[in-house]
């Protein structure tokens, strides 16, 4: 039984209380990672961090997070690469991914969505609170309403 299957049978609200909802933040900028990580921790999530694409894939496989916040411009394997590889891997392909980037042209958005991202958010256009709301909403849709 994979971690995802195990988690999906437990209501997300009860998981939240036990600090068991794991959010993986793949972001190379230390400051942005800290702000977002701090906000997520405060909201009761367990935050996992990855500094580049390869680390992101590695942590996804080892930790089985419930949701991934993925930057696109990353050292080494870029976000598209990571997204493509994650969605091809049946072990982790069901984990929802929010792309969080400062790219944001139509081509970028279409490409990320086509690769399987749940949502595309331009960092400069959203406050940390809005990102938390998006995380909540997607977790809800993904794990509760099934």
């Amino acid at each position: 039984m994979t971690g995802k299957e195990k988690n999906s049978s437990i209501p997300i609200s009860s998981l939240l209380k036990r600090n068991e909802v794991k959010v993986l933040v793949v972001e190379d900028d230390k400051f942005l990672r800290e702000i977002l990580g701090g906000k997520l921790t405060k909201e009761g999530y367990t935050v996992l961090e990855a500094l580049d694409g390869d680390q992101g894939i590695e942590k996804t496989k080892s930790e089985q997070p419930h949701i991934i916040l993925l930057d696109l411009v990353l050292p080494g394997a870029d976000g598209y690469d990571v997204l493509g590889r994650l969605k091809q891997d049946p072990e982790v392909s069901k984990i929802p991914v929010i792309v969080l980037s400062n790219l944001g042209s139509r081509e970028d958005i279409d490409r990320a969505i086509a690769l399987g991202a749940q949502q595309f958010m331009v960092k400069a256009h959203h406050t940390p609170q809005e990102i938390i709301e998006a995380v909540k909403k997607i977790l809800d849709e993904h794990y509760l309403q099934k």
């Binding site: 702000i35 139509r106 256009h125 940390p128």
Partner: protein, 384 residues
Amino acid sequence: MKLKIRHTLFFRFFWTLVLLGVMPMAISAFFLVATYQSRIADKVSSGVADELLRNASIQFFLIFLFVLIIATFSAFIVSRNISRPLRTLTEAARLIGEGNLNIQIKVSRRDEIGNLGSFFNEMAGNLKEVQERQAEISRLKSEFITVAAHQLRTPLSIMKWSHHTILDGDVGKVPIKQRELIEKAEVANESMIRLVHNLLDAARIEEGRFGYKFDSMDVRAFLHELVDEKKIFAENKNTKLELKDSTSGPVEISGDKERLAMAVGNIIDNAVRYTPPNGTVSVSLEYDDAKLRITIHDNGAGIPQKDQEKLFTKFYRAQSTMHVETEGTGLGLFIAKNVVEGHNGSIWFESHEGQGTSFFISLPAKGSLQAAVNKSYDTFVKNI
């Protein structure tokens, strides 16, 4: 290329040659008749005289026929020799006018027309070089803007996120004075973010990468939604924003909702920004069979006459608004114009200083939207 026969080179050469051929004949006939009258008429019998005259007229008639045939033939050869290369050059000039500079005219003649052809080739070559250089400069400029804008977005998001983390009280209670300052800083930061966003859009428009996704949409619902959304912004500026809808049901068009919201939204934003407090901005929607028109009217300061023609250019802001406190980026109307034209629509305005401005957006109704014509730029090769 249709020309009236009276204006062709052939016609002109033909008449010149006919005149040149017939004139000596006429003179010779005149002298012959004169000589006959004065010297021969009384010396021969009338029978001989008649025969002579008949002979002469038959001769003249044959010469005239011959002249006509020769003139037609020569006019055809000469005019073809001149007009064919001219037609080639005309066609090449037309292509240059349309922007296609891939032109090769093979010059094999050494006369004036040959010279014209050589200079034409040289001109097309130079123009092409200039065009390529400009395209390269424009590409580099857009690339620079794109890179710079992305680089700017990271520190701007750091500032935005920091401001909001502080304002949310995540790092402790914020005294009111400090809160006010951070809120002001965030307003400035937001206007920078908007500028970067618009710069990226403008760069994409110029690079031709500003793609449209056309879908069936109801303009009526779209406009109601957009105006409702903008009402908060207008209220903050103490401006009344109203929607006058003269349609009775859904108005379906084929359009890119997101881009249209940006275009119409930019114009509403401008109208609200440039209208003094307690002013009114009204948006109206009219629709009759073939055309749909959105009008955004304000009773603000108006646009000075001298600023009007530059209004849709990038970074242009009317002189009179320079000292008014506004947070526009100078790119809104440039983007709006491109979006509307991308929908095969048109945008224009009427403005009177001191009375207000009306912007008109006209969009084709569903079905009449035509795909943009792609010009082919094959090389034009011809001999002259």
